[in-house]
């Protein structure tokens, strides 16, 4: 481990990242802490109601706007780690110092991962304390402690995976702010394409249950951002003697498989980030796309996504009109991407 962790690099990265860690802790505590406290208060207000049984489960799994804020936090984390190397004055500094590229990249990744782990661990400890302090009013069968563990693993795995993907994009692209925004969008692209395909096939060939199930499955697997969105299930619970009602509880579907996918993707993204970072030439650091041979991919990606997005927004019921809008905006997107490459690249 000592060979992987370089004390100097770790120190240098941590100077900035410690502030992001504090921000992440504040966001997570305000989200999950508030979630469980609110659930406890709500439970006390409707004593005897059906919500009573799963209040902690709901407190943990109910997601709010903070789930999107967390994506921004990860984006900021990646920007913070790379911005110094992508500024004309400071870009050569690290390269002239006694570190290999492998060490530089791995330590950036480690600092980012540790920052996320610390933030989730602090929240985990808070949730555990809260759980045990309120255990008297808690049905531990319906609200098992494993809910906290599952929440911890699902979220750390997911955000580490997203962060590693941002690292990959940072290694491939120049401008650190644009890189992270593009990275954030790229992760949404597979979901967007499936949604367009679903809409088009449904509109022209009709909706079948079979098709609906398959596309839904595809959507849930292709959208990494949604891995930590819990599923809800309904269950009949006895309220009073002779009476029963429907209660809902939340859970992560395909929990273990998703963790495995996130783990595999993290390893893959990290490996690709390492390859890209090792091959990267510092003199092209300030370009939008550092590797010339990846520029066509960027141009095609922007053009096709612009075409699909515009055609969907125009939402013509006829396939021919969809095609026309698609072609027009793909051409516009092509020129926009060319302009982006020109204006967001700097030679100094």
């Amino acid at each position: 481990m000592n060979k992987i962790i370089n004390e100097a690099l770790f120190y240098k990265e941590w100077i900035y990242v410690k502030w992001i860690t504090l921000l992440t802790i504040a966001i997570l505590l305000s989200s999950k802490g508030y979630g469980v406290i609110w659930a406890l208060n709500f439970k006390e207000k409707i004593q005897g109601g059906v919500e009573d049984y799963y209040w902690f489960n709901h407190g943990i799994y109910t997601e709010n706007v903070n789930i999107f804020i967390m994506v921004f936090v990860v984006i900021i984390l990646a920007i913070t780690l790379f911005i110094g190397e992508k500024t004309s004055e400071t870009q050569g500094f690290m390269a002239s110092m006694p570190f290999t590229r492998k060490e530089i990249l791995l330590n950036k990744w480690l600092v980012g991962v540790i920052s996320l782990l610390i933030s989730f661990a602090v929240t985990y400890i808070f949730l555990s304390l809260f759980y045990f302090l309120n255990i008297k009013g808690l049905d531990t069968t319906l609200n098992p402690y494993s809910d906290i563990i599952k929440w911890f693993f699902m979220n750390t795995f997911q955000y580490i995976c997203v962060f590693t993907f941002m690292m990959l994009i940072q290694a491939v692209m120049g401008n650190s702010i644009v890189s992270s925004i593009v990275g954030g969008i790229i992760l949404m692209v597979p979901l967007f394409i499936i949604m367009v395909a679903e809409e088009l096939t449904g509109r022209y060939y009709g909706y079948t249950q079979y098709q609906f199930i398959i596309l839904n499955k595809l959507k849930s697997w292709l959208n990494i951002y949604s891995y930590n969105f819990p599923q809800q299930s309904h269950i009949r619970v006895a309220v009073n003697e002779g009476y029963s009602d429907t209660a809902t509880f939340a859970y992560y579907s395909n929990y273990k498989s998703k963790l495995l996918v996130l783990f595999v993707l993290t390893c893959l993204f990290l490996f690709l980030a390492y390859v890209a970072y090792s091959k990267r030439n510092i003199e092209y650091n300030l370009r939008l796309i550092v590797f010339k041979n990846l520029e066509p991919l960027f141009i095609c990606g922007v053009a096709i996504c612009s075409g699909l997005l515009a055609a969907t927004i125009m939402d013509s019921y006829r396939l021919r009109d969809f095609g026309i809008w698609f072609i027009i905006f793909t051409i516009i997107g092509y020129f926009i991407s060319k302009l982006l490459l020109k204006f967001l690249s700097s030679t100094k």
Binding site: L9, I15, E89, G92, S96, P98
Partner: protein, 303 residues
């Protein structure tokens, strides 16, 4: 060209291309251990690119750069021995000087805090200030201070005196010479202050359009490039005849006096002038700055 001694920096056939443009073309240089090597050239000649290849910031497209027998690029072991002072501030602006100090201490095995404190008595860098709060000269001083404190075997300096006042400029040059004398440090320096290069360098190279046009020891360079004041008995067609002599870069005539600049000065050259009817010859030593200006003019003429 090689000189005696152990070669510490060995640059062989190095070319560097950015986009489709060659910034360095087939550069060959050798620097001996314990010597001071100066590289001079116009703006955009390729000095900084060469230095960035040497420090492992840039990857050379062709050729090899060996430092102490090993490739410098992505080699942490070799970089432990190199101190590099860039021509512009390269430190993160929000870092405090004391944080930079801590970072260097952790990064370099041989970093000496004692040496840092000792040098900082002269450099006077406040440790609690952030880099962005330092003046241009102070940033340069901080960079030199930190890089001298790592006790480098090789010190690579890209315009180290830019932005410095004359007193500190002189102080830095004397510290560099002391380092070479006391620790046998090898110095590779690029500067537009040719008087500094002339004063401290053992060897010098001139780079133009990415190519090394001249590489010599300072002594040989000064011995071979001379300015002569010559008076001829018969001045008819003399200017044309002088220009056709081998090695003559420039001929100027003011009244009866001809000023000749040659890059291949030998005793034979004087003999040739007497054979052409010279009645008076005076040889004038040239400063490096004059040599550089004449050399560049000659190269421009030949292009």
């Amino acid at each position: 060209m090689k000189w005696g001694g152990v070669i510490l920096i060995d640059i062989k056939n190095v070319s560097k291309r950015i986009d489709d443009r060659y910034i360095l073309k087939n550069v060959n240089l050798h620097v001996n251990k314990g010597s001071i090597f100066g590289i001079i050239g116009e703006n955009g000649a390729g000095k900084t690119t060469l230095i960035k290849c040497l420090t492992g910031i840039y990857r050379a497209n062709e050729g090899s750069i060996l430092i102490d027998g090993e490739e410098a690029f992505d080699n942490a072991k070799i970089k432990q021995k190199i101190g590099y002072v860039s021509d512009e501030n390269q430190f993160y602006s929000s870092f405090k000087v004391k944080e930079l100090l801590k970072f260097y201490k952790k990064a370099y095995n041989d970093f000496s805090e004692e040496r840092f404190n000792e040098l900082n008595i002269k450099f006077k860098i406040p440790l609690n200030l952030r880099v962005r709060e330092l003046s241009k000269g102070m940033k340069m001083r901080a960079s030199i201070l930190l890089n001298l404190s790592i006790k480098p075997d090789i010190l690579i300096l890209d315009e180290p005196t830019s932005g410095l006042d004359p007193v500190i400029k002189k102080e830095i040059m004397s510290i560099i010479v002391d380092e070479v004398a006391s620790r046998d440090v090898t110095v590779f320096i690029s500067s537009h202050h040719l008087d500094h290069i002339e004063r401290i360098c053992d060897n010098v190279a001139i780079i133009k359009n990415g190519e090394i046009k001249l590489m010599n020891s300072m002594e040989e360079a000064k011995n071979s490039m001379k300015k002569l004041q010559v008076v001829f008995k018969d001045t008819a067609d003399i200017n044309k005849n002088l220009s056709s002599l081998d090695g003559v870069i420039k001929v100027e005539t003011i009244g009866r006096v001809n000023y000749i600049v040659t890059k291949n000065y030998t005793k034979d050259f004087g003999k040739k002038l007497y054979d052409m009817g010279a009645v008076f010859i005076e040889t004038i030593d040239m400063s490096l700055e004059d040599m550089f200006i004449y050399f560049v003019e000659e190269e421009d003429k030949n292009e």
